[in-house]
């Protein structure tokens, strides 16, 4: 379409397409990739576990539940679904953290992961109930389509809606990045280095999850970016967050853009973004894991 072939800016149709549909979608695709990969990177570090992704901690399932709830009870207004999704994804995070504090099993990291799994399961059961209740002709396809994830119907109002929280959080994370290294150390070691471990973890956790909550409210559930991109970034730049977080942001932005472009152009109809990122992500992940490891830096 107009994005790839040179067009005439004086053509009002072309102008309208580029400025009002393509450009906001481009920005959202990049921000989505950046948020998911930065968030995945940070969560992997603070949980000292390279297999964590932002979908943990009830964020994605919370968003799904919020969106489904809005679609069923408040009609198909996009804005309502978006607001409900971001509110419920944050609720998912807060419930996970709250539950983790109440659990009496294992250390902080394990408790948080277990709590996240439980809260996710709770919300996904809720989504199941809502799907069951939904009008099979009108609401159910809408919910399903939302769950598959995608950036169709992107608009400037969506960009404005998420731009400041996302950029603000990413900017703070970016400037805080060397210190995130300290949070990967054993708790007492970090403590001895003057880190207020619980406080800094919660702060970094919030900064990592808020952009994702804002993004999934628009895009629906897009998985794998947050898991695979941080791995590739670390492979390229080493473990040090000072360099690996910027790589993660760049690669994530690029990957989001590529996936969304393919989703938009590969077939006559739109391919849901979530399907593409899972497919590409899983393939990349397997290729990446079968490459030989570097031994020295």
């Amino acid at each position: 379409m107009g994005f790839l072939s040179p067009g005439d800016l004086s053509d009002p149709l072309f102008q309208n397409l580029t400025l009002n549909y393509r450009l906001p979608r481009l920005i959202l695709a990049m921000l989505l990739g950046m948020s998911l990969s930065a968030s995945g990177f940070v969560l992997q570090m603070i949980f000292q576990n390279p297999l964590v992704e932002p979908g943990f901690l009830g964020v994605s399932q919370g968003a799904a539940f919020g969106a489904a709830l809005a679609i069923i009870f408040f009609g198909s207004s996009l804005i309502v679904a978006e607001v409900a999704a971001s509110l419920f994804s944050l609720l998912g995070l807060f419930l996970s953290v709250f539950l983790a504090r109440k659990l009496r099993y294992g250390g902080w990291v394990l408790r948080l992961i277990l709590a996240g799994i439980a809260i996710s399961a709770f919300f996904s059961a809720g989504v199941g109930v809502l799907k069951y209740l939904a009008d099979p002709l009108k609401q159910l396809p809408e919910i399903t389509f939302w769950l598959l994830g995608g950036l169709w119907g992107s608009s400037w109002s969506q960009v404005i809606f998420i731009f400041s929280p996302v950029l603000l959080c990413l900017a703070v994370l970016f400037s805080f990045r060397w210190r995130i290294n300290l949070l990967t150390l054993e708790e007492s070691t970090a403590f001895s280095l003057g880190v207020r471990v619980s406080r800094e973890r919660i702060l970094v956790l919030l900064l990592a999850v808020i952009p994702v909550a804002a993004m999934v409210s628009i895009s629906g559930i897009v998985s794998w970016i947050g898991l695979i991109i941080p791995h590739i970034a670390r492979r390229i730049s080493g473990a040090n967050a000072q360099f690996a977080l910027p790589s993660s942001l760049l690669l994530g932005g690029a990957f989001g853009l590529i996936c969304d472009t393919v989703a938009r152009t590969a077939l006559a109809g739109e391919i849901p973004l979530g399907i593409l990122t899972s497919l590409l992500g899983a393939v990349l992940f397997l290729i990446f894991l079968s490459l030989p490891q570097r031994r020295t830096g």
């Binding site: 210190r179 300290l182 054993e186 007492s188 280095l193 003057g194 830096g297």
Partner: protein, 261 residues
């Protein structure tokens, strides 16, 4: 000046199961204190109380004649460094990146280490003989090399008191010698060192004072010569021991004289 003074410390993780009972000691600035005791005797807990990661249920701790509770977290990180017994590192940091983390107390929250910190980190690696490994992954090192790199991180932190939990545990004889030399070198620079060990002979080689604890109670505390007496040690370890003090520093044998403790 007393670098460290603890009086009548009590601590327990669970009610009615005390881990430390009525523990008192003092260490002067520039001295080395060795803490000996069987596994589970409370040595590590004691170090974590000093670090103020754990709070004692009773008793007081003073650093440089000031109550430990009056220090802020930041101030404490400038005077105390900890090398844990086991340090799990989940990501592939290089040795230099890891040692640089020791500079955290000197950096502002949004600051990354600079040129000066790099110099300090290299000095610390040189002091431990690990400078040639600076670009290796920490996860690719042997247990002994790793232990020395952890010590280098505490040196880069440049504290006044070093808390070292079993620093000799993974070391072969050559590296044990190297570590003991590092401790003596730090002492020469006026640093105070508290370390735990299972080996009374290593303690005897470098320590000025020794604390022996068992089941959370202090069995003996004092200068090396006072504590390392045949009767005291035999009672503590429950086997008959001989102490040979002819060479200046005491040397401890099992009584039949064939094996070193």
């Amino acid at each position: 000046m007393r670098a460290l003074c603890a009086s009548n410390l009590f601590f327990s993780y669970e009610k009615d199961r005390p881990v430390l009972q009525d523990l008192s000691l003092e260490v002067r600035e520039g001295e080395i204190l060795a803490i000996l005791g069987p596994n589970g005797s409370g040595k590590t807990t004691f170090l974590h109380l000093l670090l103020r990661e754990l709070r004692p249920e009773g008793g007081d701790i003073y650093f440089f004649e000031r109550p430990a509770s009056s220090y802020s977290r930041k101030e404490l990180s400038l005077i105390l460094a900890l090398a844990r017994q086991e340090e799990r590192v989940a990501f592939q940091f290089t040795v230099l990146e890891y040692v640089l983390m020791g500079r955290a107390p000197y950096l502002r929250p949004l600051e990354a280490p600079g040129k000066k910190d790099l110099e300090v980190a290299f000095e610390a690696l040189k002091a431990t003989g690990m400078e040639s490994l600076y670009n290796r992954y920490l996860t690719a090192l042997s247990g002994g090399e790793r232990q020395l790199v952890i010590i280098a991180r505490t040196i880069a932190q440049n504290p006044r008191i070093f808390l070292l939990d079993e620093p000799l545990a993974h070391l072969d004889l050559k590296n044990q010698k190297r570590l003991l030399d590092i401790l003596l070198d730090l002492k020469k620079r006026g640093k105070t060192i508290v370390f735990t060990t299972h080996d009374p002979n290593s303690a005897a080689l470098v320590a000025d004072r020794v604390l022996i604890i068992s089941n959370g109670k202090s069995l003996a505390f004092g200068e090396v010569r006072q504590v390392f007496q045949r009767e005291v040690l035999s009672a503590v370890y429950g086997v008959k021991l001989e102490v040979d003090s002819k060479s200046g520093r005491p040397l401890i044998y099992l009584e039949n004289g064939t094996s070193r403790v």
